[in-house]
């Protein structure tokens, strides 16, 4: 039995490794391991071939973390702290529209959730500290905010709306890591169903009609709590007529 094939959007940028310094398509292995640990098979979709035909081969798709979405996509001028990657925006906005049209199961992580909101006709806060007056949604560089001895930066609770699909999946409250300086302002066609209780920043969105279109503002792939990846794999397996290994009898 084959596993559901899960596409992961990836970076294409200048990268250094060993004695090399070159343009590469790339994604942290944490995403790949999260997909493989939850019964899927990961393939990376790089932004240097903007086209939706690849979606026909996939059973589900993850929109990964990364830089900021160009505010021109929702008609706003650019904030000085906003750093965009036009090639990635073009490719991912196309893929997001295509995936929604096809009814492909979608998980948006951090930037991926923000791409969802923008494609859904929504808007983003371009620099959260300007809005909420603190930096606690952004972990200190190189730290793991969920470590026992971490500071309060980059770690907070999320409260989940009862009756939502996210609530079925995650329960009413959880603690998450946090690596972002932008956030969803207006989720457009999506429904906000989870918030940081301290400042009401939107942490989870879901689509009211699509079978599985979930966005989370944190980085579950960097934690042992892979419930959203498992739910994506299950939705992808259902759509493809497969049963994921995780729930096989």
């Amino acid at each position: 039995m084959r596993r559901p094939l899960i596409g992961l959007t990836a970076y294409a940028q200048q990268v250094q490794y060993g004695s090399n310094d070159l343009m590469a398509g790339m994604l942290p292995m944490t995403y790949v391991r999260a997909v493989h640990a939850t019964g899927g098979r990961a393939v990376l979709i790089t932004p240097d071939d903007p086209n939706t035909d690849v979606l026909e081969s996939l059973d589900g798709i993850v929109f990964s973390g990364g830089g900021d979405v160009d505010p021109a996509y929702w008609g706003a001028p650019r904030h000085p702290e906003t750093e965009v990657d036009p090639a990635r925006d073009e490719a991912e906005l196309l893929l997001m529209r295509g995936a929604l049209d096809l009814g492909l199961p979608i998980l948006g992580v951090c930037r991926g959730m923000q791409v969802m909101a923008v494609v859904g006709g929504g808007t983003l806060h371009q620099h959260l500290p300007d809005v909420i007056g603190h930096e606690r949604h952004r972990a200190a560089a190189g730290t793991d905010p969920l470590a026992a001895d971490a500071s309060a930066y980059g770690r907070h609770d999320v409260v989940v709306q009862p009756g939502s699909r996210a609530h079925d999946l995650l329960g009413s409250r959880l603690t998450v890591n946090s690596f972002h300086h932008q956030a969803v302002d207006d989720p457009g066609a999506f429904r906000p169903v989870g918030w940081c209780p301290d400042d009401r920043v939107i942490e989870i969105i879901e689509h009211p009609e699509r079978s599985f279109a979930l966005g989370v503002q944190w980085h579950p792939e960097r934690t042992p709590d892979l419930r959203v990846f498992a739910a994506l794999a299950e939705a992808a397996a259902d759509r493809a007529g497969l049963r994921p290994a995780a729930v096989a009898a």
Partner: protein, 231 residues
């Protein structure tokens, strides 16, 4: 819909943006560009040793360049200059074997050619300069060696390359014994530069890096074979 070509990736500690030495699945953009310009749609295949089931959704496979194969794969002990990556080996041998069994079109580049060879029962020389007495196949870190290969008359690679036989190399190991494959290209010093399997529809290994010049002859042939394979 264009044929989907899966390309295996490196896994390395990568430094980019705010991140330093973050383990990442990574592939030089040249490969994706070469596949796209040849008319295919590339997806990247990070290592996975659980199953080669992904091949059911692909029309062709590229085994990419990278570190040395674990010499135990061909019954040898590791020599001092051999640097292997067992996690990649496990996933890529599974992909190569299944692709051959399915008769899926396969292109092996550099390490990928060596992997095809070892999967076919062959063996590698672990440090070519010891054998050939020069460094022309890898002149310096990050510098490709340029050489003119010769090809076996009537071979697939001879037909593809035509009169322009200049290739770009970057390797320190080489094929010692091609196993059940046929060597169809050589450097002046006798180093095998191409292998083929005439018993399959498209199995081609090249010791050089056709992606750095987006060589449409080589990638075009793979994409054409993958198009015929597509259901």
């Amino acid at each position: 819909m264009r044929p989907i070509i899966g390309i295996t990736t490196y896994v390395v500690p990568a430094t980019f943006g705010v991140w330093h030495d973050l383990p990442a699945a990574l592939l030089p953009c040249d490969y994706v560009t070469a596949v796209r310009e040849a008319g295919g749609r590339a997806v990247l295949l990070p290592p996975d040793d659980q199953d080669a089931d992904v091949l059911a959704r692909l029309d062709g496979l590229v085994l990419a360049g990278g570190p040395d194969l674990e010499p135990g794969r061909y019954g040898a002990a590791s020599e001092p200059l051999t640097e292997s990556h067992p996690e990649r080996d496990a996933g890529e041998f599974a992909l190569a074997r299944r692709a051959l069994a399915m008769d899926l079109p396969v292109l092996g580049v550099c390490r990928g050619m060596q992997l095809l060879t070892v999967a076919a029962g062959g063996r590698l020389d672990q440090h070519l300069p010891d054998l050939v007495g020069h460094e022309k196949h890898r002149p310096a870190p990050g510098v490709y060696g340029e050489l003119v290969a010769r090809f076996a008359p009537g071979s697939r690679i001879e037909a593809l390359m035509g009169d322009d036989r200049t290739v770009h190399c970057y390797h320190h190991q080489g094929v010692a014994d091609p196993g059940t494959l046929t060597v169809t290209g050589w450097a002046d010093d006798g180093t095998p530069e191409a292998v083929e399997d005439p018993d399959h529809r498209f199995v081609l290994g090249v010791q050089w890096h056709p992606e750095v010049v987006r060589d449409r002859r080589v990638f075009g042939a793979l994409v054409a074979a993958a198009s015929r394979a597509a259901p």
